[in-house]
Symmetry: C2
């Protein structure tokens, strides 16, 4: 572990690339959120956009902007000059400690899995997602990397989730499997068999099945599910929150003057509500289980989101999140 | 189709049975929401609790209270004197047009499938759930009856969903399949193959994949998914809505006097919000695809919920919802 964390940033990925990405990197450096950044896809001619006193903390790595949202995941393995390939290759070679990209998720996962490579003993790397909830954050895994899973794969997912829950400050995190009922007889054969695997592993504090209605309850740490269900769940949470807030707005705009005054008086509370629902407050989405720290920033990331993703990547390097996984194998 | 719809009500099912069930039936009759009710599990000694002028609209059918929440689904097929078995048997024999129960869901589905029996040409009956959303209700199917499905089964689900969307007043309802992306290449082999089946069926207005974040959007009519995902989605919506409203409460109670005044002024809007999220406003949950109208009332139903379930069952009889399905086969 180097004293300084070397964080790579994909300058091409994301809807607002490259400027938001560059600005996010500058902000993170200015505020000492990271030690140094490698701008992958960056040309030396960008140097004049960077404050002089930060020059020694930024490195430029040439790369092609050859992956877009239509690139099929495995295609990236042939695009060896793409920023996504190069970022992962540098992790593999030990030239980077972490890599942040807001680019094509599928391509990023493929490059993570096949270029950086899996941790030995982990058979399914997965997207690990922080969620808000009562008494603090919790972790959902898999957020969409593996649409289909075999029961034994839940062991990998559980350990990735535990490592991330510890990263978020949880002690001895409990692991639940998402299911359509909490009784042991409920659900598909896959989740029932998965439960048996988790029960038997003494590195996993297995706590039984959990239903979707209890995701935000107190005392929930890690929720494990397949990537198809997990991705659908995440997007449903997003859709439900958006719908509720838009209904609230509609009620206010249909309401009388007192309602409108009421909404004005409640403005700060409503802002607080929005903030408490924003999972980005807990940092980016990690692709855990590979032998490097890969952070997926949202495709629509602005400079603040990029800066935040760089910060959590840096923190994960310092907290040795990969060692936390290896300790459980 | 008889002029009077004969609705059966399970007097035993539900947390507040039998009194809430009985009160719900009385309320529905008093307000002419239904024509007549068969109280399954009712004893003649209940007659003194019923207003005299309703006596001719209520029939008592003896049954045993032998199914509880621990009864395994298929066990009910041996419990031939249970209210759930008898209600379905009466539908099978043409003695009832619809049956409403707040009892054990699994047992109810098993009795519906094997006692009442499937509609010929439907290979998977499913739970059809009305959801709120922009510009009115939409339908999610399967809400949890079939945890695992083959691609061809999506045809049954789509047709059940279409029939229910028509019941809710939609013209030529569109059908979406829930998936983790809208591109045709996304998702599991099952949903991709299911899409091909729906495309080919000219009775289905197939509109492509939909993501969880768009469930509440305008122009969404029918969303088809397997019962494992569907049930998880429904419970996640419930959990998210509950969490958001409780966070809002917390923000208000942590807020100052102005926030509290604001909340008071917004009281009606917040009530309106709560109501717009309550899917019960659109009626009960139907188990469609069997040769009878089976309505599942929520386990925690109060008399109002029971009355509402009886009302929608009655309406489904009058609207000939089963014929709507048969027309598509």
């Amino acid at each position: 572990m180097p004293e300084k964390a070397r964080i790579g940033l994909d300058l091409f990925g994301g809807d607002n690339a490259p400027m938001s990405n560059l600005e996010g990197a500058i902000f993170a450096l200015k505020n000492n959120l990271i030690d140094e950044v490698h701008l992958i896809g960056g040309e030396e001619n960008l140097r004049n956009k960077i404050p002089e006193n930060l020059h020694n903390k930024i490195k430029f790595i040439k790369a092609e902007n050859s992956v877009d949202n239509h690139t099929k995941p495995t295609e990236v393995l042939k695009l060896k000059n793409s920023s996504i390939y190069i970022g992962n290759e540098m992790m593999k070679k030990g030239q980077l400690d972490a890599f942040v990209s807001a680019g094509n998720t599928g391509a990023l996962l493929a490059a993570g899995t096949f270029v950086t490579g899996r941790i030995e003993g982990i058979d399914r790397p997965a997207l690990v997602i922080p969620l808000p909830g009562k008494n603090g954050p919790r972790v959902l895994v898999d957020g969409g990397a593996n649409a289909e899973l075999k029961p034994a794969h839940y062991i990998s997912l559980a350990k990735e989730g535990i490592a991330f829950a510890k990263f978020l400050g949880k002690k001895n995190p409990k692991v639940h499997i998402l299911n359509i009922g909490t009784e042991e007889t409920k659900g598909t054969k896959i989740v029932k068999d998965a439960a048996e695997f988790l029960k038997k592993d003494d590195k996993i504090n297995y706590a039984g099945f959990i239903e979707g209605r209890n995701i935000f309850d107190e005392n929930v740490d890690v929720i494990v599910t397949d990537g198809f269900t997990g991705n659908n769940i995440l997007k449903t949470i997003e859709g439900t929150a958006y719908y509720i807030l838009s209904e609230l707005k509609r009620e206010v705009s249909n309401g009388g003057i007192f309602t409108k005054i009421g909404a004005m008086l409640m403005k700060n509370s409503l802002k607080g509500l929005k903030k408490s629902l924003d999972y980005r407050q807990y940092g980016g989405t990690f692709f855990l289980g590979i032998n490097g720290i890969l952070v997926k920033a949202h495709g629509s990331s602005d400079s603040e989101a990029i800066s935040n993703a760089l910060f959590v990547a840096n923190k994960a390097v310092k907290d040795k999140i990969i060692d936390k996984i290896k300790d459980m194998l």
